[in-house]
């Protein structure tokens, strides 16, 4: 009983903390500048890879990965969050803190697998894809916001969580929601820094 209530208190404090860091501790940039910059990167990649969208997805992912492995330090420096004991906590930290701080949104966490090692994030308003309409030929293959998957993959790996991250659906493709799936493969126990226990 007491552990349950303290757990929910922690979740609430995560939310408050995320909002506080976003509001008072983070410098902002113009959203349209950000959206247009990302848009021009994606469309340039489509040109560079001669509309081979699988390659574009891969490239976006690897760009995201490189961001993620660096951005995690910023996240930790800003929040000083303790290690999450399980994926449920991780999912809360991602949606309530990470997404809040960096993109000012709180995706909904749903569809936990029975083993609690995989979950989905429902992204309601994706700031990356404002103004975007996919061209016909890209509709089937291109995951426009695939950079997010890479960022999450890289960031989680740096805190020793080896995960698969991928998009299940995207409103740009005519789906009802934008859904991103995170599945934990294994905890890299050997790489956890000694001294944490």
């Amino acid at each position: 009983m007491s552990s349950k209530s303290s757990g929910s208190a922690q979740l609430r404090s995560l939310k408050i903390m995320g909002e506080d860091v976003w509001k008072n501790r983070t410098e902002k940039v113009n959203a349209e500048l950000f959206t247009l910059t990302y848009g021009s990167i994606v469309s340039q990649l489509c040109i560079d890879y001669q509309r081979d969208f699988q390659k574009v997805n891969k490239q976006l992912f690897s760009m995201g990965y490189n961001i993620g492995v660096r951005l995690i330090e910023d996240f930790l420096a800003k929040t000083a969050l303790p290690r999450c004991e399980n994926m449920v906590k991780t999912s809360e930290a991602i949606s309530k803190c990470a997404f809040k701080i960096f993109l000012n949104m709180t995706p909904q966490v749903t569809n936990f697998s029975p083993e609690k090692d995989a979950f989905s994030l429902i992204i309601d308003e994706n700031p990356l894809s404002d103004f975007v309409e996919l061209p016909m030929d890209a509709m089937k293959q291109l995951w426009y916001s695939n950079i997010l998957c890479g960022v999450l993959k890289g960031a989680l790996q740096m805190v020793q969580l080896e995960c698969d991250v991928w998009f299940i659906s995207d409103v740009l493709k005519g789906d009802a929601h934008t859904e991103l799936r995170i599945k934990l493969n294994k905890v890299l126990k050997d790489e956890i820094p000694i001294g944490e226990d």
Binding site: E32, T35, Y38, G39, S43, F131, V132, E133, A138
Partner: protein, 176 residues
């Protein structure tokens, strides 16, 4: 009144075109569009008025020269019939056998042109305020289209969403 509306790029290339008809789909009435022979002629009529538009584009407004107009921007745009210069609306620029032609110039030089048809009367009356509002809202839609990273400037606009929105604007302002 049917209208023929088009957006033209900087080199007078067509970017978007649409024909608006009255009483669209209402009570199974016949849609009153342009007669067939005019339909084919519309692009020509429109292009014929481009010279006038380009002429107006660089004409200085006489008010500005006296320094009395301090509307800020857009002073180099001049309208033939409308004295307000703080917008891009050029008003009625041309006519062709009773058809009126209005135009709107964006600051980047895109031309929005419309032919206002008439069916019963011999001369066409243009409600400047409504047409101006229509143009301004289409301009906003056009800017939003430009924000799409996959849209290249001066390319034809193929987006179905843009088309639907323009048509609903036409219903709102032009064919009430």
């Amino acid at each position: 009144m049917p209208q023929y509306f088009a957006i033209l790029g900087k080199s007078d290339n067509p970017v978007y075109e649409a024909e608006f008809t009255t009483q669209q789909g209402q009570q199974g009435q016949l849609q009153k569009g342009f007669p067939q022979h005019l339909k084919e002629l519309n692009p020509f009529i429109m292009h014929a008025s481009l010279d006038i538009i380009e002429d107006l584009q660089w004409k200085l407004n006489s008010n500005v020269q006296h320094g009395t107009n301090n509307s800020g921007f857009g002073s180099f745009l001049r309208s033939k019939n409308v004295n307000v210069t703080d917008n891009c609306y050029l008003g009625k620029v041309d006519h062709f056998y009773g058809l009126a032609i209005t135009a709107y110039l964006t600051f980047s030089g895109m031309k929005f042109v419309m032919i206002h048809g008439n069916l019963d009367k011999n001369s066409t009356q243009v409600d400047d305020n409504a047409v101006k509002s229509f143009y301004q809202e289409v301009h906003e839609l056009y800017i939003k289209t430009l924000m799409n990273p996959f849209y290249k400037i001066n390319d034809p606009i193929t987006s179905a969403a843009f088309d639907t929105r323009v048509r609903s604007l036409a219903r709102k302002y032009l064919n009430k």
